[in-house]
């Protein structure tokens, strides 16, 4: 059976190595934090300038000088550190983050990522730190639904939306299957409520098992 959002977040959390420094993108990936145990020693980075970020807190407990990249109020964990934006993005661009997890509109079979712009002519473009993360993290994982609401695949032979980064995604986590993007091709690492043949047909691309 397909995973629900919480199960998917838990699955990703379980794959993050102990002690890793991790950036969780705005939106769905933020929920992964709930499934990271303190014993794992995973340390969360937020690009607005902090390592050791804690949980999202409700507005009534907010300190508005302490927010995540989505501008939600968060907490500070013991061992945290603050730094300015140039230092924060140097950390990202310099390849020091072990993993970042982002949402996506599309991921290509070659690991290209499109998650900032639908290409619609009237859309106001906004990119934030997505391109910096795509270019900088040691591993870029994507967490998304595998199909759009109208049933179009989001894991595609080539992205049709404007790119965020080229050949950067190494893993894709979806509600019906998980994938590793490898030099040999796209490898299915697990399926949930869907057969691999049906998956290959719906995605219209060769899949390694």
């Amino acid at each position: 059976m397909a995973l629900d959002k919480n199960e998917l977040a838990q699955l990703v959390a379980g794959d993050i190595p102990d002690g890793a420094y991790v950036n969780l993108g705005i939106g769905q990936p933020t929920s992964i934090a709930r499934y990271l145990s303190p014993e794992s020693g995973v340390i969360l980075h937020t690009e607005n300038g902090m390592l050791g970020m804690g949980e999202v807190v409700p507005a009534e407990r907010a300190d508005w000088d302490l927010t995540n990249a989505g501008k939600q109020p968060v907490t500070e964990l013991p061992g945290a550190a603050y730094f300015h934006h140039a230092d924060s993005f140097s950390m990202m661009r310099g390849g020091h983050l072990d993993v970042c997890v982002m949402g996506a509109f599309q991921v290509s079979a070659g690991g290209d990522l499109a998650n900032w712009h639908t290409g619609a002519a009237d859309a106001i473009p906004a990119v934030g730190g997505a391109m910096d993360l795509a270019a900088g993290a040691k591993q870029v994982w994507v967490m998304m639904t595998l199909f759009t609401k109208s049933g179009e695949p989001k894991l595609v032979p080539a992205c049709t939306y404007p790119l965020t980064g080229k050949a950067c995604v190494t893993r894709v986590y979806t509600e019906v299957a998980t994938f590793h993007i490898t030099p040999e091709g796209v490898r299915v690492t697990a399926t949930y409520g869907i057969g691999i043949e049906e998956l290959a047909t719906r995605l219209d691309m060769p899949l390694l098992a």
């Binding site: 607005n48 000088d65 730094f83 934006h85 990119v127 997505a130």
Partner: protein, 219 residues
């Protein structure tokens, strides 16, 4: 030269029509709201504003935009749930937008402050951001050439200053402040408190006084 302690309106008096103004903050954290209000009252127009976002709600940067003072926004993330002022101006063709990835925004200002003429950056390679820009392969990796962003003025918010102009920040409100302070000809810092010289621990100063020209205390 010596940092002057002044009120907000005096602090912004040197801003001229056509200036590039760096505005600190990430959302509202670190946003120098009172300095922006003073800039609106001051009246300078035809401004280029460099800031991560393009205003929230109807106050601060959004109010400056609504007052028609801004010719161009340079930012990484203009589109937000409450960026209706910018959205309206943009769709009406009344404001220019230069979209810059967030890290490039920081690094380009850092370059301005650090005397770097340009730098090769891996961010945005193969994306629309890199279109028309010079690229180069170095050690097998492709980079885009990025140029400094300088400000005539920077408006930033810090937590505590000493009377010399040394600054410390508070939590993630630090964000762009320390970088913008280095990148502008005149840096104006709004702080919650000004203390005597010697009250800040020299090990913990984030922005040294050399980068701060005007201090405004907003309790």
């Amino acid at each position: 030269m010596r940092t002057r302690i002044v009120d907000a309106l005096t602090a912004v008096e040197e801003v001229k029509d056509g200036d590039t103004v760096l505005v600190g903050g990430f959302g509202m954290a670190g946003m120098p709201v009172e300095l922006i209000d003073a800039l609106i009252e001051h009246g300078a127009g035809d401004l280029t504003i460099v800031s991560n976002n393009a205003g929230n709600g109807d106050t601060g940067l959004a109010a400056l935009l609504a007052a028609g003072r801004v010719r161009k926004m340079v930012c990484s993330f203009p589109r937000q749930s409450d960026s209706w002022v910018f959205d309206g101006l943009y769709r009406a063709g009344k404001i220019e937008l230069e979209l810059v990835p967030q890290g490039n925004l920081a690094e380009r200002m850092r370059a301005a402050g650090a005397g770097i003429g340009a730098f090769y950056c891996p961010t945005g390679v193969g994306t629309p951001i890199a279109e028309g820009r010079e690229t180069r392969v170095i050690d097998g990796r492709e980079y885009v050439l990025e140029y400094p962003i300088r400000g005539d003025v920077a408006l930033i918010r810090a937590h505590v200053a000493d009377r010399l102009g040394n600054l410390v920040y508070r939590k993630t409100a630090r964000n762009f402040g320390p970088v913008m302070a280095t990148a502008a000809t005149i840096t104006i810092a709004q702080v919650s408190k000004i203390v005597e010289v010697g009250e800040l621990d020299p090990e913990t100063v984030v922005t040294p006084s050399i980068y701060v020209n005007r201090l405004v205390e907003v309790a």
